[in-house]
């Protein structure tokens, strides 16, 4: 093992240059260093200040306001606000509709994440590893839904699920599978999964492209070497691909949590309006309904606090569960 050290002059010799230079240098650094550091700090702070102000005004203050308003009862219009402490939260415990919305949110979070991630990884692996003819066309087709507005997607799926003339029921009739026809957006048991399919369809292409970008940066030699050792395609996927795109997977898992909460709200509002009989309500749509339609702003903000806590906790747990040292390749 080699180590680098300062060469020592031979005994008896005098090396004025080596002695005087550090002294002069350190004295210059001693006088100019702290001043320059202070200047650098001021410059960095000045650069950060606009972003920090914007973050405080548009993120911190509204979030604090949500927490504050959850302790009040307020219609949203009148100037009268009444402090009720934790009453809004205790009301949540007896609200069956809130529980149903929470259950739907958890179900969408789990089902959409598992299905989209599984299909996204599978398609990305096929598109990257297999030399498919026209794979750019497939990628383009799968990515299109992500470019569309969510409201357009809701309209498309409302048409597909239409009971009489919808694509789904018409196809089933054509195949003489009349028994499988359903009221896709009118059945209380099915409606959430109908929304889930629209969510998967919307986001699949996006995640597939993200995974493909990571997979295409993995050196080909790794696959060649493992193939020489007799590794199958599945073995290569789990031993090479998955570990090397892990950081990307971690990021997308956080995206899944956010989109399960946010995207489901838009799709539910546009496709079902929370119906039938509130069976497709999700947390965010229920919060919106309470705060802006039912004139229970404080109660809506209490639901907002629960959404914040739930999203934050799940994101934190996912981040901790998936933490590992990034692999360099």
């Amino acid at each position: 093992m080699t180590t680098l050290s300062t060469p020592t002059p031979p005994p008896g010799s005098t090396n004025h240059a080596s002695k005087s230079a550090p002294v002069g240098g350190s004295s210059r650094r001693g006088t100019r260093g702290p001043a320059r550091r202070r200047g650098n700090t001021r410059f960095v702070l000045a650069c950060l200040l606009p972003a920090l102000v914007l973050f405080a005004v548009f993120m911190v203050v509204p979030t604090m306001n949500v927490f504050r308003m959850s302790f009040y009862t307020w219609s949203g219009f009148s100037p009268d606000k009444r402090f009720v402490g934790l009453d809004n939260f205790s009301r949540l415990l007896d609200d069956e509709q809130f529980v149903r919305a929470f259950q739907n949110t958890v179900a969408l979070l789990v089902v959409v994440t598992v299905v989209t991630m599984g299909m996204g990884l599978f398609l990305a692996a096929i598109m990257t590893r297999q030399r498919l003819r026209g794979r750019n066309l497939y990628r383009f087709i799968l990515y299109i839904p992500n470019v569309l507005s969510v409201v357009v997607i809701a309209a498309v799926f409302s048409a597909v699920y239409d009971q009489e003339n919808g694509l789904l029921n018409s196809t089933l009739r054509l195949l003489s599978l009349d028994g499988l026809q359903q009221v896709w957006l009118g059945d209380q048991k099915l409606v959430v999964y109908s929304v889930a399919i629209a969510m998967v369809w919307q986001s699949l292409g996006y995640y597939m492209v993200l995974y493909m970008a990571s997979m295409s940066s993995i050196p080909e030699e790794l696959y060649e070497a493992s193939a020489l050792d007799g590794a199958s395609a599945a073995r290569q996927f789990f031993a090479i691909t998955l570990p090397l795109i892990w950081q990307n997977l971690r990021t997308t898992l956080t995206f899944f949590i956010m989109s399960a909460v946010n995207l489901s709200f838009v799709l539910v509002r546009a496709m079902t309006g929370g119906g039938p009989d509130g069976s497709s309500e999700v947390l965010l749509s229920y919060m919106y309904k309470q705060a802006y339609t039912n004139s229970s702003y404080g109660y809506g903000m209490a639901i907002g606090v629960v959404i914040f806590a739930f999203s934050f906790l799940v994101s934190l747990l996912v981040s901790r569960a998936t933490r590992r040292e990034p692999l360099q390749f």
Partner: protein
């Protein structure tokens, strides 16, 4: 027990637990109530524990 057999058993067990958690989420949703919501959250926690267990050897 051979290492390959042990690995195969572990992968099978993890797949079964993941499938059970997913099934639990889907079935518990059909009935509205705090108990069922807690079951769903427990299933979600189970999936996260599985993820952490898979990831542990790579840390």
């Amino acid at each position: 027990m051979k290492e390959s057999t042990r690995t195969a058993l572990l992968v099978t067990a993890r797949t079964l637990v993941a499938a059970a958690c997913l099934t639990l989420v889907v079935t518990a949703r059909t009935t509205v109530g705090w108990g069922n919501l807690l079951v769903m959250l427990a299933a979600l926690a189970g999936l996260l524990v599985l993820l952490a267990a898979y990831n542990r050897r790579f840390r």
